[in-house]
Symmetry: C2
Subunit: 398 residues, 2 copies
């Protein structure tokens, strides 16, 4: 058998802990809160079919032909207006790049900015796929402490001072993955200021911001950016269709142009059909009403999950109370090994993602992520009872 000589960028075998967890959780007997999928029953299948039909009727050849690396103009204009309306971000068309999912923004920003050995500062804990991406470009990481108001700005400034080779600060300011926390307004303003002061870039990742079911909207970090140091990214994955792989970047034109060159080398451009389709869908539908429907459902599911925690979990367990998004974060005191805890819970036919892979540095024992968007109400009720029993057993040392 050929032993392939892979590059240094390829992760070693057996390091895909999350893959193994999701695989274990995929057993149909198990009630899984491990994934991060939207509720498919709310996908606007009929309306999207109508939009695609219209695209074939009006732009069939264009949708099937090679297109521009930056994306279909109609969709870029839509994004330009969308970020102004939703986030008070001023953008010209030159500031907008359409990407193959927001995952591709992570990849292109990593490729364009991270030299091997550069430091990337991340929330502690953070979105684990961002760690995976930046790692392939040779990043070093340092975690920045969070509280209920998001990343702590004094801790961030300390990190920036002590790590002069910092290139990037990565944040998910709204309903963060994995904690569900939202960054406070004054910290957003401060974050934009610190980026300019220390000449580092903020990558503001906002996939969940529109899915708010409580509290008040907080404007984007990018809306406070006066120097171009903040790069804003989002996606249609949580509001329309993750399967279409449509994300975007809003940044300084110089950054957009350089990332466009790298995007050409990555996949030439993003599928034109879904770009035209989403632009058409926005023209023909009340997308705000659709997003409210999603938010309402997720709000109900979040509440059911929080109720289950209160009813069934051992005393002393802490958990976040998100105002939107898809995840909440649980901390069980007295647990040393969260992966062992995960295995115990599997025996009770219920699953989550252990907190460890979300940490750039030392993980916090006993912490895990729960997803509430993808499970119907009866599964949440039953699953939280099972999870509570498993945790009671674990804490009792059984």
């Amino acid at each position: 058998m050929t032993q392939f000589k892979f590059s240094k960028r390829v992760p070693a075998d057996g390091t895909d802990a999350v893959g193994a967890i999701l695989k274990a959780a995929a057993d149909p007997q198990i009630i899984s809160f491990a994934g991060g999928l939207p509720a498919p029953e709310l996908f606007p299948v009929k309306e999207m079919k109508a939009a695609v039909d219209k695209v074939f009727a009006t732009h069939g050849q264009e949708a099937m032909q090679y297109g521009a690396a930056k994306g279909v103009t109609a969709l870029r204009e839509l994004i330009q207006h969308h970020v102004k309306e939703k986030e008070n971000v001023d953008a010209e068309l030159d500031n907008v790049l359409v990407t193959t999912g927001s995952e591709q923004v992570l990849d292109l920003v990593g490729k364009a900015f991270v030299n091997p050995g550069d430091t990337v500062l991340v929330e502690q804990p953070t979105y684990l796929c961002a760690l995976d991406v930046f790692k392939t470009y040779g990043a070093n990481f340092a975690g920045v402490e969070m509280d209920e108001q998001g990343m702590k700005m004094d801790a961030l400034e300390e990190a920036l001072k002590s790590r002069p080779n910092t290139k990037l600060v990565y944040t998910v300011p709204n309903f963060q993955n994995p904690t569900g926390r939202t960054m406070a307004l004054d910290r957003r303003q401060k974050l934009a200021e610190l980026a300019a002061k220390y000449d580092v870039y903020v990558l503001e990742d906002n996939p969940y911001g529109e899915i708010r079911f409580a509290g008040q909207h907080v404007p984007a970090v990018k809306s406070f950016d006066k120097t171009g140091h903040v790069f804003y990214m989002s996606t249609f994955s949580k509001t329309l269709a993750p399967g279409f792989r449509l994300g975007w970047l809003v940044a300084d034109a110089d950054v957009v142009n350089k990332l466009t060159v790298l995007k050409q080398s990555a996949d030439l451009h993003t599928d034109n059909l879904v770009q035209y389709a989403v632009a058409q869908f926005f023209a023909d539908n009340d997308v705000d009403a659709h997003v409210r429907e999603i938010s309402d459902l997720y709000g109900k599911r979040k509440q059911l999950m929080a109720d289950g925690i209160k009813q069934y979990f051992p005393a002393g367990v802490k958990y976040t109370d998100p105002e939107g998004g898809m995840f909440l974060w649980v901390e069980v005191p007295g647990v040393d090994d969260t992966v062992e805890l995960f295995k115990e819970c599997l025996k009770h036919n219920v699953a989550f993602v252990p907190g460890d892979p979300f940490f750039a540095g030392k993980p916090q024992p006993g912490a895990f992520r729960l997803n509430y968007s993808n499970a119907p109400e009866d599964k949440i009720k039953a699953g939280m009872k099972q999870l509570g029993e498993a945790l009671q057993d674990a804490v009792a040392g059984k």
Copy 2:
């Protein structure tokens, strides 16, 4: 203005020569043979709309939900059977990875195999985007001489001996971009043997193979591979719809698995809608007949172009006579600066891509690429006359 600190991977400003050429050629007054687009009038718009409608009716939620990184199973099975039927390549499902266009195969193979300083051997000349991609991963290049039978195997073995840090041999064996040449059968067999002997990998890129309008099919290099050293890639871009960005890799399962991990970090997975749609399109349509229609049209256009060369070009001009694909290659003796020649031709309102960017090493002066797939017959006739006049002027030293 912020001076952004890009990584070493980002190409310097002003190095996108081809971008500048295509931009100049986009002037509607100019008859352009510069691009590389399929004929859009043959896109099966109506049939693809029907396929997409069926997908929404039967798999709407799956098409809109997150999917598997390796691709939709129905499409992977289709590719598995397709490579067996068309290229006599034996593949299990584990050997098939769906990618966001075949461009993404180049990117993932570069990322997974090329350490900075590794050598990539390429045909002289070669597909210029492959050079761009491998460059971002720090590759060094060496060009291997070609003749009308494709890459010369004695020259390749010399290169393999003299460059022990060679990791990859990149080839487009059928109707090569830019020359239109096809590699002879015995050389394909030899190429697979040399890869195993020197423990290097062959990336066999076959976007054009099915578009044959003359001569006999030659089986893939991969069909001679006994050791897993050959990676085979292709795409639906030339037969169905480049705008959908659907390509694939067939390789050893170990390679597919590692590239899948990197693909997850690049874009999670490829758009599900077009994956389901293409699988449905194949189930409902006679794709072979559609591909014959494309081949017939391109054969006619190639002949018109060859006739124009004979009729209008200066004596002594050499050109290839491809049996398929989209390009032919012209060599004008006595020309020192092909980019100057390009500018002269622009003044005659006709455009091509100068040969220089297709060369890893020293370019061949006076060589350029002509595309015949994308221009209607009257444009080819008129354009070849104009091009002939421009070349006559240039050769006469006007």
